[in-house]
C-alpha cells in the first residue's frame, strides 16, 4: 500500500470535489496556474457532468517533479466540498492520505476512515461571518480552500496573490474579497493544523518556455494561422471551445483596422449536416474552411464527407472525441472515432486523418490539415479528444515560421487557365493522381460541373463502368500517396534492440511514456511508436515488422487502431496484441501496466523482480 505519509515533494495527485455551477472552476484554475508558475510539472483534468448546475463535479491535479503528468487516479488528498459525493470521494483517497472537508456541518461517522487524516475547515461558517450575499458566500468558499491548500501544500502565496491582482485589477472590491478569502483559509490552517503536510510543493524551474493551454484553443489558433476564413459549426461538447477560440482569435487578429469589418465569417449552422455543407461550399470557392465537432457530428456529416471525397473538395473536420456510441457520455473522453473518421461515408471512401497527442500538436496539425486538404483535394480530419481539447496542458511554447505560405495545391490561376486549350477537372495530367482544380469566378474556361454523381475524368456525368472505376482508382491512389505527407510517427527506442513494441495514439501518449519508463526500471525494454497520421506512413509498417510482439494501446472497446493496422499494414494478427481502456477517463499508467501485465508476466518473472 502506498505510504504518502512519507515526504513526497512535488509528487502527488489531489482531487477537488465540488458542485457544478458554484464557481469552483475559477478556484481550480487559480490553483493549477499557481503550481504552473511555481515551475512544477503539473496537469489539471476537469471531470465534469453534462449539466449546468447542481450535479457533482471534480477537478484533478497531478504534480510530478519527473514530468509525468498523465492522469493519476491515486489521490493523496481530496478536497471534499460536496456532501452529495462525500461517500465516493472519501473512499477514493489512498490509505494514509488526507481529506479536507467543510466542518461547518459535522461529518457523519459513516464517512470516517481510520487510515486517512481528516482536516475540517469551517468554510461555510466563515463565509457567513465575513461575506454578504448568497452568491459571494458560495464563490468565496472555493477561494478559501485554495488558501487552505496554500498553507497545507506550501503554495507560494506571493504567486497566488499576484494572480488575483492580475485577474481583478479593474475590480478592486472583488480583489479585496478574494484576498480576504484566501487569507481566511490560509490562517485557519496555520492556527489549527500541522503544516505543511508531508505531501508538499517546492519551486522548480521546469516550466521555462512553456505555456498552459487547452487543445481546442491551440487548434483554433492553428486555423487562424493557416489562414482559414470560414468556420461553420453546430455547438457540441467537447468541441465548442474550439469555435469559441477561433472567434476570440479572429476578433483579435482578423478585424480590418480601417473598417472594423471581419476578415472571417463564422456561421453557426442549424445542424452538423449544414456545417459540413458550408465548409464544402466555402472550400469549393477557394477559402480555407473547417468545422469543429465530435463523434455524433461526424455521423451526421458522413453524407457530405462522401461528397467531398468523391467530388474532391478540400474540407477540414476537427473531431474532438467523446465517449460514444450515440449520445454516450458527452463529458468523458474516448478514442472511439478512429475507424469512423478513416472511412466515413457510404461507398468506397478513405480519408486523411491526423491524431494530435497534445495541444501543441493541435496547433501544428491544424495548419498541416489545411495544407493537406488543399494539396490532396480531399477531406482531412484532425482527431483529438475531450482530454486534449478541453483540459489545460503545459506544453512548450508554440512557434511560428514567418516564411510559411499555404500549400494551395493545384489551383490554376486565370493565366494558367487561359493557356489551356480546354480544362478537365478530373484529369491527372502528370501522374501524381491529383488533378488540377479551378476556382469559381476566376476564368470562363475554368468552369466545370461539380457533382457527387458518377463522373468520368473529364468531369462529365457517367454511368459507364470503366470511366467510373478509373476515377475511383485514382482517388484511392491519391489518398494513399498522402501517407508520406501526414505527420510521421513518433518513435522511441531503447539503447538495445527490443522484440517488444508498443503502438499507441493521441492522448494515450503520456500514460504510455510513463508506463514504458516504469517497465524499463524493472528491466523490460519496450520500443514505442505513436501513430500521428493516416494513411499509415511506411515507418509504421517497418516498426510492426521489426517486433515479435506489438501491444496496441488505445481508448476504445473495439481495438479500432489495432484493426486499422491489421487492415492497412502487412502485419499479422498474431503479432498485434490489444490493450484497451474505454471508461471515459484519460488514460493512466495503471491502465497500461494492468493491460500489459498478463502478456508480460513471463518477461517480468524473467527479470526476477
Amino acid at each position: 500500500m502506498d505510504q504518502p505519509s512519507a515526504s513526497r515533494i512535488n509528487d502527488f495527485a489531489l482531487k477537488v470535489a465540488t458542485v457544478n455551477g458554484t464557481g469552483s472552476a475559477s478556484a481550480n484554475g487559480l490553483l493549477l496556474q499557481a503550481l504552473f508558475r511555481m515551475g512544477i510539472p503539473v496537469s489539471g483534468k476537469n471531470v465534469f457532468p453534462s449539466n449546468i448546475q447542481g450535479l457533482p463535479t471534480w477537478y484533478e491535479i497531478r504534480v510530478n517533479k519527473d514530468g509525468y503528468t498523465a492522469r493519476s487516479p491515486e489521490f493523496q488528498l481530496i478536497v471534499a466540498m460536496n456532501p452529495e459525493s462525500y461517500a465516493r470521494d472519501i473512499e477514493e483517497v489512498v490509505s494514509g492520505g488526507w481529506v479536507i472537508y467543510d466542518s461547518s456541518k459535522e461529518l457523519d461517522d459513516e464517512f470516517r476512515r481510520d487510515d486517512v487524516t481528516f482536516i475540517g475547515l469551517p468554510l461555510a461558517q466563515m463565509c457567513v461571518e465575513h461575506f454578504q450575499g448568497a452568491r459571494a458566500r458560495i464563490l468565496m468558499k472555493n477561494i478559501m480552500y485554495v488558501g487552505a491548500l496554500a498553507a497545507l501544500l506550501e503554495i507560494d502565496m506571493d504567486i497566488v496573490k499576484g494572480m488575483l491582482e492580475e485577474k481583478f485589477s479593474h475590480k478592486k472590491h472583488l480583489m479585496d474579497a478574494n484576498y480576504q478569502a484566501i487569507d481566511l483559509g490560509y490562517n485557519y490552517v496555520q492556527e489549527h493544523y500541522e503544516h505543511p503536510l508531508p505531501i508538499r510543493l517546492e519551486k522548480m524551474d521546469a516550466n521555462r518556455d512553456k505555456v498552459m493551454i487547452h487543445g481546442n484553443a491551440a487548434a483554433a489558433l492553428g486555423c487562424v494561422y493557416a489562414g482559414a476564413t470560414v468556420g461553420a459549426w453546430y455547438p457540441i461538447t467537447p468541441s465548442t471551445s474550439l469555435m469559441d477560440g477561433f472567434t476570440e482569435y479572429c476578433k483579435r487578429f482578423r478585424v480590418d483596422p480601417d473598417t472594423g469589418k471581419h476578415n472571417f465569417c463564422i456561421i453557426q449552422a442549424e445542424d452538423e449536416l449544414a456545417a459540413a455543407g458550408m465548409v464544402i461550399g466555402a472550400s469549393w470557392m477557394g477559402a480555407r474552411a473547417f468545422t469543429p465537432t465530435s463523434g455524433p457530428g461526424i455521423s451526421l456529416m458522413s453524407e457530405f464527407i462522401g461528397l467531398a471525397y468523391y467530388a474532391e473538395v478540400p474540407s477540414v473536420f476537427f473531431d474532438v472525441q467523446r465517449t460514444g456510441p450515440s449520445t454516450g457520455m458527452p463529458t468523458r473522453t474516448q478514442q472511439g472515432d478512429i475507424m469512423l473518421c478513416a472511412y466515413a461515408s457510404h461507398g468506397d471512401t478513405k480519408h486523411i486523418v491526423l491524431f494530435p497527442g497534445d495541444p501543441r500538436e493541435c496547433f501544428e496539425f491544424a495548419v498541416a490539415a489545411f495544407d493537406l486538404t488543399e494539396r490532396f483535394q480531399t477531406p482531412v480530419f484532425v482527431v483529438s479528444d475531450l482530454d486534449i481539447g478541453m483540459n489545460d496542458w503545459v506544453i512548450p511554447k508554440l512557434e511560428w515560421d514567418d516564411s510559411y505560405r499555404p500549400d494551395r495545391g493545384k489551383v490554376l490561376s486565370a493565366e494558367q487557365i487561359e493557356e489551356l486549350e480546354r480544362f478537365y477537372r478530373y484529369l491527372d495530367v502528370d501522374g501524381d493522381h491529383i488533378a488540377a482544380r479551378t476556382l469559381p469566378g476566376v476564368h470562363p474556361k475554368g468552369s466545370y460541373f461539380t457533382r457527387g454523381s458518377g463522373h468520368d475524368k473529364y468531369g462529365r456525368y457517367t454511368e459507364d463502368s470503366d470511366a467510373y472505376m478509373e476515377v475511383m482508382d485514382r482517388l484511392l491512389e491519391k489518398v494513399e500517396s498522402a501517407a508520406d505527407h501526414v505527420p510521421a510517427p513518433e518513435v522511441h527506442r531503447g539503447e538495445e534492440a527490443s522484440s517488444i513494441g508498443i503502438v499507441s495514439i493521441g492522448g494515450c501518449h503520456w500514460a504510455v511514456l510513463e508506463a514504458r519508463d516504469d517497465l524499463a526500471t524493472r528491466g523490460i525494454q519496450v520500443d514505442y511508436l505513436r501513430v500521428r497520421g493516416f494513411p499509415f506512413n511506411q515507418t509504421v509498417d517497418d516498426f510492426l515488422a521489426e517486433h515479435d510482439k506489438v501491444f496496441v494501446i488505445e481508448q476504445n472497446r473495439d481495438e479500432q487502431l489495432r484493426k486499422l493496422l491489421l487492415m492497412e499494414t502487412a502485419c499479422s494478427k498474431e503479432t498485434l496484441y490489444s490493450v484497451t481502456y474505454s471508461g471515459g477517463q484519460p488514460l493512466s499508467k495503471g491502465h497500461v501496466l494492468d493491460g500489459l501485465a498478463p502478456y508480460l508476466e513471463e518477461a517480468l518473472m524473467g527479470v526476477g523482480s
Binding site: N207, K210, V211, M212, I213, L221, V224, Y225, A226, G227, A228, T229, V230, A232, F253, D256, H262, N263, F264, C265, I266, I267, A269, E270, D271, L273, A274, A275, G277, M278, G281, A282, S283, W284, M285, G286, A287, A289, E303, F304, L307, K397, L398, E399, W400, D401, Y404, P406, P440, G441, P444, S447, Y448, F449, T450, R451, G452, Y461, T462, E463
Partner: protein, 351 residues
C-alpha cells in the same frame, strides 16, 4: 442523366446583350427531363433572365440538391460553375460558398421534395440567414425520379396517378418563407414566362434570399385530372396578385402606370422593380397584410402569383456577420496570418 452536347447555333439576327452574348451562350446541355416538363420552361426563363441581366457566365454559380429539378443546372449557362450536391442540402453549400466569395451571382434550383421534406431545415435556415441568392423551387407536388410519390406540397385531396388521394396537409413554401422573415417572396407558373422572367431578374438583383416558388407541372406523374399541380388546374386557378416589371440600372423607366396602382422599389444595386398591383389595397411590403391576403385567396382555391413580398433594406448574411467587402477568398495570406511576434505576445497570457 447523360451528358449530351447541344450544338451552339447562332442566328445572325439573334439579340445580343451588353457583353455581346446571345441567349444561346447562356444555354447548357440538352435536357434529359420528360418532354413537356415544366422544369424545362423554368430553365428557359432563367436563360432569358440571365441573358438580359448581362451576367458574365463564369461569374454565375449554379447550385442544386437532388431530384428532377436539381438536374436542371446543367441545362443552362454551360460556362457557369455548377454544383449538384446532396439531397436537401444545397442551401448550406450556397451559404458556405457565398460566405467565401460574395462577389459572384448565386442561383439555387430545388424541388418540393428537396426543399420541403429532406431539406426543410436547410431551406428555413437559409431564409433566416438571408443568404444572398436566387432560390427557385420547382414545385410539382410529386417525386418524379422515384416514380410518383406525393411530396410535402401536395394538396389535401389531390390524387396520384394511381388515383390515391393525399390526406396530409401541404407545406406552402410561400407561406413558410413569409413567416420566416424572407425578404423576397414570389410565386409563379412555369407556363407563364412573361411573368416569371421579370421575377427572376428582380430575384437575382435582390440583396438577400430571393425565393421564387414556381408551380411546375410534372407531365408524367402529376398532370392528370385530380392533381392540383397540373397545367390545367394551375392555369385555371392562378390569381396574379401583382405584375412585376424589372428595370435594370442602366435602362430608362419607360412604362407608365396609373397613379396609385404601381409601386417602385429600388434594389440594392440601384435597379428598380415596378410592381403593378391588381388589387390596389395590396401592399407588397407589409408582411402581415400579405399573409392575410394570400390566406384569403387560398380559401377561394386560387393560387396567388407575382412578386408577393419585397423588403430591400434588410441585411444579408454578410451584414449579420459584418464581413469585409472584399471576398474572403481574395484576402492575401499576409492579411490572414498574425505572424510569429503576435503569437509570442499572445502566449504571454498563457502562463
Amino acid at each position: 442523366m447523360s451528358y449530351i452536347t447541344k450544338p451552339v447555333a447562332r442566328h445572325p439576327k439573334m439579340p445580343r446583350n451588353a457583353l455581346g452574348l446571345t441567349p444561346r451562350d447562356y444555354e447548357g446541355t440538352m435536357s434529359t427531363l420528360c418532354a413537356g416538363c415544366g422544369h424545362d420552361s423554368v430553365t428557359a426563363a432563367l436563360i432569358q433572365a440571365i441573358f438580359e441581366l448581362d451576367v458574365e457566365p463564369h461569374r454565375l454559380v449554379k447550385l442544386s440538391g437532388i431530384g428532377c429539378s436539381s438536374k436542371t443546372p446543367t441545362y443552362f449557362v454551360r460556362d457557369a460553375h455548377g454544383f449538384n450536391s446532396v439531397h436537401g442540402r444545397m442551401p448550406s453549400i450556397a451559404a458556405g460558398a457565398n460566405a467565401a466569395n460574395r462577389d459572384l451571382l448565386y442561383v439555387g434550383i430545388s424541388g418540393d421534395g428537396d426543399s420541403l421534406s429532406i431539406g426543410l431545415g436547410q431551406f428555413c435556415h437559409a431564409i433566416r440567414r438571408n443568404v444572398n441568392m436566387l432560390y427557385v423551387l420547382e414545385n410539382n407536388g410529386v417525386y418524379g425520379l422515384t416514380k410518383g410519390q406525393f411530396s410535402a406540397s401536395a394538396d389535401i385531396g389531390s390524387t396520384s396517378k394511381a388515383g390515391v388521394a393525399n390526406r396530409q396537409g401541404p407545406i406552402d413554401p410561400v407561406n413558410l418563407a413569409l413567416s420566416l422573415g424572407a425578404t423576397f417572396v414570389a410565386r409563379s407558373f412555369s407556363g407563364d414566362k412573361a411573368q416569371l422572367v421579370p421575377i427572376l431578374k428582380a430575384g437575382f438583383r435582390h440583396n438577400g434570399f430571393a425565393f421564387v416558388d414556381v408551380i411546375s407541372p410534372c407531365v408524367t406523374f402529376n398532370d392528370h385530372k385530380g392533381s392540383t399541380k397540373s397545367y390545367a388546374h394551375t392555369r385555371e386557378h392562378m390569381h396574379e396578385v401583382i405584375e412585376t416589371d424589372f428595370v435594370p440600372l442602366r435602362a430608362e423607366i419607360k412604362t407608365s402606370y396609373a397613379e396609385g396602382t404601381a409601386r417602385a422599389v429600388t434594389m440594392h444595386d440601384g435597379s428598380v422593380v415596378k410592381l403593378r398591383k391588381v388589387d390596389d389595397t395590396y401592399d407588397p411590403t407589409d408582411r402581415g397584410a400579405v399573409l392575410d391576403y394570400l390566406g384569403e385567396v387560398a380559401t377561394r382555391g386560387e393560387i396567388s402569383t407575382g412578386l408577393l413580398y419585397l423588403e430591400e433594406s434588410g441585411e444579408d448574411m454578410h451584414g449579420f456577420e459584418n464581413t469585409v467587402d472584399t471576398p474572403l477568398v481574395e484576402l492575401p495570406h499576409e492579411t490572414l496570418c498574425p505572424g510569429s511576434s503576435a503569437l509570442a505576445e499572445l502566449q504571454k497570457e498563457w502562463v
